[in-house]
Structures are given as C-alpha cells and as structure tokens.
Symmetry: C2
Subunit: 338 residues, 2 copies
C-alpha cells in the first residue's frame, strides 16, 4: 500500500514554496499517518529552508508543528489509533531501545530523526512519524492553536521539568516571540515570579496579560544591573548576542542560564562568573514524549494557548514573508486547505 502526499516544497535555499507531490512509500510497521489539519510555522522552518544548519535536503517540505487525525497505523503501533487527534513536533522517530529511549530521554537518542531533516514535514496534506512521537491532544485544547506547543511549546516547557524549577522560583524569559510568549504562560502557571526581557517595550501590556509580573528592556544595561542576583532561572529564547555577563550577574545563587535559542555566536564563559554563586549554563532541545503529554495536560488545565496568526496553507509564502519581517505576534499557524 503506497500513496502520494500533496505538499509545499522549496527547491533551493531561500526558494519559494511550490505545490509538490511525492510518493510516500509503504507505511512503516511502527508508523502512523496523520492528516494534517493545522501546521505551525517555527523559526527553524526558516533556518532549514535557507540551509543555515547545513542539513537541508531539497525539495524541502518544512512544517514540524502539525496537528490532525490519524488516518492509518502500521501493524506494530501502540498507544494511538486511527481517528485520534494527535500532534507531531520536531522529532519524528527514535530507536526505542537505546539507553536514552528506555530511560525516558528519547530526545537524546542518537538515532533521532527530525521531522523535516531528510524527510518531509507538515506543510502537506499528510505527515508520518513513529507512534511514540504522535501525541494525543487532551480534551479542552483547541486543535487550531495546539500545533506550536509540539515544538515551540515543549522547547520552553521542558526546562521547567529538567531543571526542577519550583513555584517559589523567580524566572526571567529573554525574547518574547513564539517560544517566549508560551514560556511566560508556563512560568506564570507554574507559580513563579515572571520577568519578561524584550527589546520591544510596546508589547508590555500584552506580556503582562500573558503572565509577566515585570517587563524589562533586554538591552538596557542599567536596568539589568539593578536585577543583580535576582533570578533562579533565566530562559533565553533568542539567537542573537546579548550582554551575557549582565544576565549571569542577574542570576541568584544556584541560578541557571538556560539557552533554547540557537545562538551561533559563542557565549564567552569564565569560570569565575559561575563559581561565585554556584551558577550554571545549560541547554535543551524540545522534550521527550511523556513530557510533551504532561505539557498538553498542563495547558488544558491552565488554559494556556498559543497566540496565533492564521493563514491557509496555500498562503505559505505570504506567511513566511511575514515571519521574516519579525512582526509575528506570536506564532503563525497554517490551516490545511488542500
């Protein structure tokens, strides 16, 4: 049983997306096929489109924040069935039997295959993945806004779990875009004191509505100085160089600077900066399936939602132009109109 999948593909770096059909081959025994209803647009789709990370294959079908119903399952599939509404994020497949997979850290599996790395993603009518990575939406989540939780959301939720953040902690979030606006909501509902660091203070009221107790100019060295020793966690979602020294100083004793933005410019770290207050710098990417499931429940229970701008999938090139403008508030979601 083989079939054709309709999609949008770019054929070169910085190319436009064009209608594209491909032969999907037989569904794997461990695979599910999802009929895409909605597909979020993540900044990584743009990086991949432009081959910034030197791992893009063309024709390139992006999209790794897909939500929809399962339409077919391979014979060994567990946990999910045809008709379930699920989401799929950055990760499409892991081995299921290495130490990482067996200990619940699938995210560290050396055989991890990204949804849009060497395979075709969610800017399509259908998308496939290993059943472990097709995670059911709990009741109460709006499917049209849930896609971005599967990449942007889990990327900023996972640190709260992995770093054992407490509701009594003070949390700063740097950069309030697709990831940051979810991080503010998570931190707020987690019970923390929340500070948003943004270079765009015009967002202040919105950010307070999203859960920020304080909004601080991320580039104002003087303001940062006043916050010396304050934060248990500073979560950076940006991919630009900042005054990292000031942010390290803004950490409380035992504070953590956690990077989820893909900064290519190195942060210069001197051991003295960390030693004085038992500080650390860490990073994670997305999160494992059980953590994704817990995040979805947490979102449903606390009415945490992506703030979206909506396009039809056929408007994908307009959507990407808007993404590149840097003006999205806060995440684009494409609705499948194939």
């Amino acid at each position: 049983m083989s079939e054709k999948i309709k999609a949008f593909a770019a054929h070169e770096p910085k190319g436009k997306f064009e209608p594209f059909e491909f032969e999907a081959g037989e569904l794997g025994k461990e695979e599910v096929e999802i009929k895409v209803a909605f597909s979020g647009v993540c900044h990584s789709d743009l990086s991949m489109l432009n081959n910034e990370w030197r791992m893009t294959e063309y024709p390139f079908v992006g999209g790794h924040e897909a939500v929809g119903q399962i339409t077919a399952v391979g014979e060994n599939v567990k946990q999910v069935k045809v008709g379930d509404t699920v989401g799929l994020g950055w990760n499409a497949e892991t081995c299921g039997h290495c130490e990482n997979c067996l200990s619940g850290f699938q995210i560290n599996c050396p055989k991890l295959v990204g949804t849009i790395v060497g395979r075709h993603g969610g800017f399509a009518d259908k998308v496939r993945c290993h059943w472990q990575w097709a995670i059911k939406l709990p009741n109460g989540l709006d499917a049209s806004k849930a896609g971005p939780l599967f990449c942007g959301g889990i990327t900023v939720f996972n640190p709260f779990v992995q770093l054992d953040i407490k509701p009594t902690d003070r949390v700063g979030v740097i950069g309030i875009g697709g990831l940051g606006h979810l991080a503010l909501q998570f931190a707020d509902k987690w019970g923390c004191e929340v500070t948003a660091f943004t270079s765009d203070l015009s967002k202040t009221d919105e950010l307070k509505n999203l859960g920020a107790d304080y909004v601080v100019n991320s580039r104002d060295s003087g303001e940062l100085k006043k916050l010396r020793g304050r934060f248990d966690l500073i979560l950076s979602t940006v991919n630009v160089a900042l005054e990292w020294n000031r942010y390290l100083e803004a950490l409380a004793p035992k504070g953590k600077l956690h990077l989820v933005g893909a900064t290519l410019e190195p942060i210069p770290v001197v051991s003295f900066q960390l030693m004085g207050g038992q500080k650390s710098i860490s990073s994670t990417a997305t999160g494992s399936p059980t953590v994704v499931a817990k995040m979805l429940e947490f979102c449903a229970r606390h009415n945490i939602e992506t703030v979206t701008e909506n396009y039809k999938m056929s408007q994908i090139n307009q959507a990407f132009a808007h993404l590149e403008s840097g003006k999205v508030r806060y995440r684009i979601v494409l609705e499948n109109d194939f």
Copy 2:
C-alpha cells in the same frame, strides 16, 4: 584581651615571605582561635601572593588550609570548644542570617570573608575564624595531611554533592594536581568509573593507585574523540585553555562539565553544543560547613588522604619555589615550627 600573632608575610607581589608579627586585637564573640599545627599550600596562595585577582592586601599572610587545636573561643561560639582539633579552609566568616546561610549554602553568603582576603591566614602561629568555619576533624584522619581537604578537597568534593552524582556515573577529572588527586579518590570511593586526564602520562601508575580506572592524555585530541558521549561528569581542575569542544563532546547525554579551576580565558560556549545532549557547564567554589563535615567523615571511612610533601613553616619560601615549579606531588603541607 589582645595578643600578637607570629606569621610569615610578603610585602609586595612576588615578594618573599618574611617573619612578621601583628596585633590580632580582641577575639570576636563568634570567633575561635586555632593554634596552627599544619598549613597546606594551595595554588590560590600563589595567585594571592602575586595579586593576580586584584584583591590582595600587603603585608600578605597566606595559608587557608590550616589544621590545629582551638586555644580560645569567643563568648557566643557554638559547636566547638577549646582543645578541639579543627580545620579552616578558604572561608573564614559568613553572616549566619541571610537566605543563603539559613538554607545551608553559606558558601553563597554575600558577606563571605576569605581567610586570606583582607585578613591574615594560616602561615602563622595562630589563625582565627567564625566558629561555623572551624570544622572538627573526625577520628581516624591524620592531622598532618588533613589541611588540604579544607580547600582543595572540598572544592572537588562539593560538586559530587551539588550535582547529585551517582555511583553508577562515569567521571572524568582533568588535571591531576592538588585538587585532581583528591578528586580521583573521591570519585573512586563514590563508586564511579574514573578517568584521569593528565598531560603527564608518567603519573599513570600513581593515578591508578589513587583510583583512576583509565588515564588519558588531556591534550590528545584523537584520544578524546574516542571518548565521545562517555562521561556523566567531567570535573576540570585546570586553569589553562583546553580543547573544550572535545570535552563537551565527551559528555554523555545529560552530562556536566564542571569547572573548579579558575580559568581566566573564556570558554566559548555555543548553545548547540549543550542542546544536543541536554548538557551543562557549571562551577562551584569550596563548599558549605555541613558538606565539609560530610567530606571529612567520608575521607575517614574510606581512607582518603592527601598525598603530601612536607616542609617546616620556616621553609616557606622553598616550598613556594617548589610550588611554582609545577612539580609538587600532590600537595605541600607546612608544619608550624614557630
């Protein structure tokens, strides 16, 4: 009640130590006075002598690994009494009432006073400190070798506690000097698999006797490459630049690169290097009093001992010349011969 203390002091950066007497003033209510029996020589004494950290005051009396009997106590002193054999490390005083002190992280107290920072240390007949930092030696520890545990030892023991290292973990130690040779013993007795990284392979047999399962050339890029993904903890005791990329690659998923060496040259950290395997970079300095006490018990139970080279305190300048040569195996201890 005031008294004079005899010591050795240097009067300028890189100066020689000369006999020096100073008026100690009245003993504080919270203070104890220790008659120094033995005083370890730490590389930080040399850095302080030479004012490398821009905080040395002259005349400078170094020494922050002192062991001896308490000869006098202030009226508010708790826990210790005249006649107790105690040790004193880098930290001489903390406030006792801030959030850090009250939660057992005295080491992060903003009022922390270093034993040789703006005051006189253990290269002396007597030395004073707040009672919280005069920590009793348990039975079974050799006082002549215990001094270095109070700075070098706790510096490499504390990470095992703070980072929650498990006996099933694989631990690498970079740089096998005063700190590293204790770290090997701690890691071994902690139950871990232990790899020593050293630039001096002539030490191999000695390092295996100290607990190393493997000894690897710290500057051999090819050897490091083979260890990709192996270590849960890499503890760096060096203050020189290394191929940090290779060491980050040598971490297992969730692995930690922990810096206790005071590197002044920044380590360039790119978030991708940490993100892939949920890795972190952290640092601590020494450790809080209850952790010091636990370390001492652990040493007594497991026969962990500093490997020392012994000098009389009157030979202090010879001792420092030997320290500067880089040939100490593994820690110098001065015996008080005033």
